[in-house]
């Protein structure tokens, strides 16, 4: 899958994540008055929404790789960190909203017209940031954490603004929040892919076999490639490939490969240059670096 396709794919999984989270939010909201405190209310919202969105995002990598095991493991890990992210997100978002809202409440009415919708959108953005960060925590990658933070913030902001905009158009529509959650999910997904694309100084293009044409962004400090589901890039349908023997390490803009053939030469460890052909088992890749450090 090309990088553009990856963005589209992550956007779709985000849409699914948002849509799945929405009914849970409606159920919790419906019983707001029954909660003992605002803290309990927000915690339950955070748990239920973080659980769902974190789980779906965690599954996405496995789905992308068509790996059932990766889907299940990722999903389980995703919903665990999603719960943490959700609670943090709702707590921080609500705290910010109350802080700003109280100040706005004592401001002139002209200021309130824009202030209240904007502060709620900001609350959504903070919540989105935490949910987006959860995916980075799950994959234990600083780059993904950073991607998640940016994507979550922007997705949440856009989603929150949509909710506010729809609320103006139709105050009673229950679909406003569905739109908000969907956009939040799409935002996290797309920005995750986009920022991944941006941040990836280099990528591997799969040249042959079942995954021909796939472009693997090398955003992580260390990316492992192999047939094992524990590898960062799981390849199947290729012969003679080891579990996770091939690795690419990024250091100060320079990429080094271990356990592979480079330009038809068996290497223990080699610095990669743009255009290099890497072979792991039967799978062959081209290394593409956008800006090579000299």
């Amino acid at each position: 899958m090309s990088l553009a396709m990856r963005i589209f794919f992550f956007g779709l999984t985000g849409l699914a994540a948002g849509a799945a989270a929405w009914p849970f939010s409606e159920i919790v909201l419906f019983f707001q008055a029954k909660f003992a405190s605002l803290l309990a209310f927000n915690s339950v919202l955070g748990v239920s929404i973080g659980f769902v969105m974190g789980g779906v995002f965690g599954m996405s990598e496995g789905v992308l790789n068509s790996s059932g095991k990766k889907t299940v493991n990722g999903g389980l890990a995703g919903l665990m960190v999603g719960i943490a992210g959700g609670i943090a997100g709702f707590f921080i978002g609500q705290a910010a909203l109350l802080y700003i809202g109280t100040r706005l409440f004592n401001s002139t009415s002209a200021f309130q017209t824009y202030g209240f919708p904007l502060s709620r959108a900001l609350g959504w953005a903070l919540f989105g940031t935490c949910i987006g960060a959860a995916e980075g925590v799950r994959s234990r990658s600083f780059a993904k954490l950073r991607n998640g933070l940016v994507g979550g913030f922007l997705g949440g902001l856009v989603g929150g603004l949509l909710v506010e905009f729809l609320r103006i158009l139709s105050p009673v529509s229950m679909y406003a929040r569905l739109g908000g959650f969907a956009l939040l999910g799409v935002g996290i997904g797309i920005f995750y892919g986009l920022v991944e694309n941006r941040l990836a100084g280099a990528l591997l293009r799969v040249l042959n076999g079942r995954q021909r044409g796939s472009e693997i962004p090398l955003t992580q400090k260390h990316t492992t490639i192999g047939s094992s589901t524990t590898a960062d890039v799981t390849l199947h349908g290729y012969g003679s490939i080891a579990g996770a023997q091939t690795g690419i390490t990024k250091q100060k803009g320079t990429y080094t490969v271990t356990g592979a053939w480079v330009n038809d030469e068996k290497v223990g460890k080699k610095t990669l240059h743009d255009g290099d052909i890497i072979r792991a088992g039967d799978a062959q890749f081209q290394f593409i670096q956008k800006k090579e450090k000299r």
Partner: protein, 475 residues
């Protein structure tokens, strides 16, 4: 005897009625709602000011005199009072906004008989300015802030409360006699605007209104398209927890309105011609703020952007109540009024999207031997596919008669490579051949090998789902 008794009871009645009326003229305000810890512990603090008709705080009230309630989805709900404190020390100083009438009548004398005297000393405005200056001197707490707003046909000189007294004094000096068209008195609208201005200021807030009390509005005044009147201005002040102290600047006819504005908002009325009493005004304001009661109570979980905190104060003579809104918005907003089970459909729909994405596989399961051409770099890169299929040989060059013609790449020149089927495999040959970044004259192609022609790479794929079995064997 009977007549005497009657007189006695009548006298008693008057006395009691007097007590009754004094008590009934107490005033209660919520001067601040502090909801900062709402998210942490569900507690809200309300600062409550109870004053008598002279604006003095009523001390010694007990916890049992008060009850708190809040608006909820099902009407007002009583709230548990968690703690009660008297005379809480409030830091942060007091914000005093001087609202000065600068209408035509302010340039008359006190009695209103001398209307066009050139002698500034007898003008009402002169007394007003002197009163402000002396009050500014009384504000010794460095945290106190003073602001200024003057008005006639419209409001002018709106100075937000500042710690800089010199600034206020300078602005005060700028108040000049209005022209004839400006000489109207929009007393109540100006007061309403002053409260709106003070609303944006945090902390304890007080208005000192200096006027001769003669509301003289201009009909269809463009500055005030929406009229609120005195009652709405008073309500607004109460809702914002602002007490309005009034300073009368005319010998007569002003006590009624200025007096009731002050009494109903918990302030007090003063006459500017009674400097002795006036000198106690700042102290009175200070005393009122220091005499507040602090009630900490458990908030409800009602929905909505704002919530009404309602306090009732019961004395033996009657019940006084007041209320104030505070912000209680939640991230996701209002719930649905009726729960619609249809929304649950979103879950299977989302699951279907995920299953579909998983089923798509993004993989090429079957494939025939083919060549993929990657031209250019970055975003301009173009991908072209040529299936070799049953062909025995394929030629690649920039020439038009080649099987695969690559145009627009000047780096290729006259270079030509040829791929031939041989012994069940494919062999590539050419005069200036580069495969996998290595020079060669001729070699067997394995799946994934990349032939470089100029800046174009042509990648051979044997077809997927099938291993070559001869991995990494070089020729």
């Amino acid at each position: 005897m009977g007549k005497r008794l009657f007189l006695f009871f009548s006298a008693m009645l008057i006395v009691f009625a007097g007590i009754w009326s004094v008590s009934a003229e107490d005033s209660i305000r919520i001067s601040q709602v502090d909801s900062r810890t709402l998210l942490i512990n569900q507690q809200v603090k309300a600062y409550i000011s109870v004053t008598d008709r002279d604006g003095r705080p009523v001390p010694g009230l007990g916890r049992n005199s008060f009850s708190m309630s809040e608006s909820s989805d099902s009407g007002m709900v009583g709230c548990e009072i968690l703690s009660f404190q008297e005379s809480v020390n409030i830091s942060g100083g007091i914000n005093i906004l001087f609202v000065i009438d600068n209408s035509g009548s302010m340039y008359w004398d006190s009695s209103g008989r001398v209307k066009n005297s050139p002698d500034e000393k007898i003008w009402r405005i002169t007394f007003a300015k002197d009163a402000v200056l002396s009050l500014l001197k009384d504000m010794k707490n460095p945290n106190d802030r003073a602001g200024l707003l003057s008005f006639n046909v419209k409001t002018q000189l709106a100075v937000r409360p500042t710690k800089n007294r010199v600034e206020v004094e300078r602005d005060l000096a700028q108040i000049k006699k209005p022209s004839e068209e400006e000489a109207y008195t929009e007393l109540y609208e100006a007061l309403y605007e002053a409260i709106d201005l003070l609303k944006t200021v945090r902390g304890r807030k007080v208005i000192i209104l200096l006027s001769d009390g003669q509301n003289f509005p201009l009909e269809n005044n463009p500055s005030f398209p929406e009229r609120h009147g005195m009652d709405q201005a008073i309500d607004f002040a109460l809702h914002e927890g602002i007490s309005v102290y009034t300073l009368g600047l005319s010998g007569r006819a002003d006590r009624k309105n200025l007096g009731s504005i002050a009494r109903e908002t918990g302030g007090a009325y003063f006459s500017v011609y009674d400097p002795k009493r006036l000198s106690s005004l700042y102290f009175l304001i200070h005393e009122q703020v220091m005499g507040e009661y602090l009630i900490t109570y458990r908030a409800t979980m009602g929905t909505g952007e704002k919530r009404l905190a309602h306090v009732e104060y019961a004395s033996s003579e009657g019940v006084l109540s007041t209320e104030r809104y505070y912000y209680s918005g939640t991230l996701l907003g209002m719930p649905q009024e009726r729960f619609d089970l249809m929304i649950l459909l979103a879950i299977p729909l989302a699951a279907a999207v995920m299953i579909l994405l998983g089923a798509l596989k993004f993989e090429k399961k079957k494939g025939v031997p083919s060549l993929i051409v990657y031209r250019g770099t970055g975003k301009r890169r173009r991908v072209q596919l040529l299936t070799i299929g049953d062909r025995d040989s394929v030629t690649i060059s920039a020439r038009e008669d080649a099987d695969l013609t690559i145009t627009g790449d000047s780096g290729i020149g006259g270079n030509e490579v040829k791929i031939e089927k041989k012994d069940g495999g494919y062999r590539v040959s050419g005069s200036n051949l580069t495969v996998n970044n290595r020079q060669a004259r001729s070699r067997v192609l394995k799946s994934g090998d990349s032939i470089t022609l100029g800046s174009t790479s042509v990648v051979f794929d044997e077809g997927s789902g099938k291993s070559t079995g001869k991995s990494s064997k070089r020729t």
